[in-house]
Amino acid sequence: MSVNEFVIPGLMPLLQRQAESGTVAKLVNALDASPLRETRTDAVAVADKKAIGTVRFEALGKVYQSSAGKVSALEDISLDIQAGSIFGIIGRSGAGKSSLLRTINRLETPSSGRVWVDGVDVAALDENGLVALRRRIGMIFQHFNLLSAKTVYENVALPLRVARVPNAEIHQRVTRLLELVGLADKHATYPGRLSGGQKQRVGVARALATNPEILLCDEATSALDPEATQSILALLRDINRQLAITIILITHEMSVIHEIADRVVVLEKGRIAEEGEVWKVFGNPQHDATRALLLLLEHDLPQDLRATLVHEPPQDKAFERILAFSYTGAGGLEPDFIRIGEALDTRVRLIHGGLDRIQGHAHGRLLLAVDGRAQLPKLDNLTTGQGAIAHDIQEIGYVV
């Protein structure tokens, strides 16, 4: 079996169009020039070219047999993951994310339902079919899972070696991949001598070795420091854009989803709590699980404010009214302080809060203080229609 079997016709022109600049572009061109890309046998059954890079779950369920009886890890999961997208799966630990991700390359076998990858039912594959499928799906891990007895070069080369790719081509590809992840000078180093971020870069290079259409990321940044996390996320985003690889990632950190995902599904106790575009789910969470996960990102009341906040307007004292303005990102509505000032017809002081921009949509919460004596218009009228100044306005209390 050769690598040629999992190179997909029609992908190269697409990649070339996307490859404009940078190392990834160079890699793409280099890969195109290599004979790996020229032919493809029909050993890999791909039902439909349009389905390349897609994953579909259909009423998926997974039941574990444990000493305490049957434990249901996944229940009735139905999802469609588009080719070329970055799809996030988030949930607390034990929510079933890991099992769900592993059903895609059949490291985990579902108890019920189906998984379709590239339009092919994963459960129907024999061993050779499964190996071919796994070569079209790269995977990176929280703890990197690099082989400690092999050098960086040998680690990245291994998927190609077991795919019986000729040595000269392996050399060419591994060299390009290590350039892509910025570790060309570390090729002879053993993983034990690398930092966490560098190890994960090797993991990414290894996952990309066989030109996969799909990249699975299992908590890929959870063991990394913030700086390494940012650089790995940037690398993943680059790969997704330049190589048009579908990225499916699981994480328990909202910030990761926020950073790179297009769509997100929130898992809670093995079920889908909600699913949708990231900015919508973030801006307007419908499920408690989502809100709980978002809490860490939210700008909650600062300590000093919480200490002085009262719920009744103080008598015979000057006080300020605290309003919480929420922005979900919908309709391009963003805080406009002149309009806010005009709408409330009084002086407005920003005391706390912030906005995040996700996929071009501003979302966040601002705490504003206005003079307690000011006569405010009806707040509900300020959140709808043309005159809207925020998606939601709540009076949360008073401070002296």
């Binding site: 390359n105 490291l107 061993e127 190996v131 071919a132 796994r134 070569r135 799906i137 790269g138 995977m139 891990f141 703890h143 899972n145 690099l146 082989l147 400690s148 007895a149 092999k150 291994l158 998927p159 070696r161 077991v162 795919a163 053993y190 034990g192 290894r206 996952a207 070795a209 066989t210 699975l216």
Partner: protein
């Protein structure tokens, strides 16, 4: 200054060569047979990727029964087999048969423990990249467990040096035999002291070499 040995120096070199041959050859056999047995035990264990509890139990009990038999008893019990293989029941080659048969299960168990301690995440990564079972053994299990396997092999060699002393019972010679015949039976303390000193140096060197190699493997 001249020093008169109580027995000819050639006796010592002969004994050393015999011990070296017995330990070397039975050690090599234990290594090359023990590793496949260890791999078999590891992959057939429940939860392993060729899980087969019956095969695992069968191989496991053969290994255990050889481990349970004291070497001196094993050596005598195996005489018919030894004669079948080597055509004789005395001498160095006759000792190599029971030494190998005793060292192989011992080493296999130690190697199995090292294999068992390979991070399952690495096996998962290999599966995810499209490795077949044999490739996982070759590229993941064996290289990753190598430091433990070498450490275990060092222990096996030391145990073999010790067992080989009993090989004198089948007339195989060796350092242990020299110490028994001259040092113990003829009250020649000099032979006893020299043999013990040589054995200490031998065991220490084997252990040091093994430790050095393991440290080198681990520090890459």
């Amino acid at each position: 200054m001249s020093f008169e040995l109580s027995i000819p120096f050639a006796q010592y070199t002969r004994a050393f060569a015999d011990t070296f041959t017995m330990v070397g050859i039975s050690g090599a056999i234990a290594f090359f047979v023990g590793i496949p047995v260890a791999v078999l035990l590891n992959v057939t264990t429940p939860g392993g990727f060729l899980a087969s509890p019956r095969l695992n139990r069968a191989v496991g009990s053969v290994v255990n029964s050889f481990r349970a038999t004291p070497f001196i008893v094993l050596m005598v019990a195996l005489i018919p087999l030894t004669r079948l293989i080597t055509g004789t029941s005395i001498g160095v080659w006759a000792a190599i048969v029971p030494l190998s048969i005793s060292a192989t299960p011992f080493f296999a168990r130690i190697a199995e423990v090292s294999l068992r301690e390979v991070d399952p995440g690495l096996v998962e990564a290999a599966q995810a990249m499209g490795c077949k079972k044999w490739e996982i053994v070759r590229h993941v299990y064996l290289p990753e467990a190598l430091p433990g396997i070498i450490g275990g092999f060092t222990i096996t060699l030391v145990a073999l040096i010790s067992s080989s002393a009993m090989a004198g019972a089948v007339g195989a010679g060796g350092l242990g035999d020299l110490a028994i015949r001259y040092g113990y039976q003829r009250f020649d303390t000099e032979v006893m002291v020299i043999v013990i000193a040589v054995l200490i140096v031998l065991v220490t060197s084997v252990q040091a070499a093994g430790d050095y190699y393991v440290r080198w493997l681990r520090n890459r």
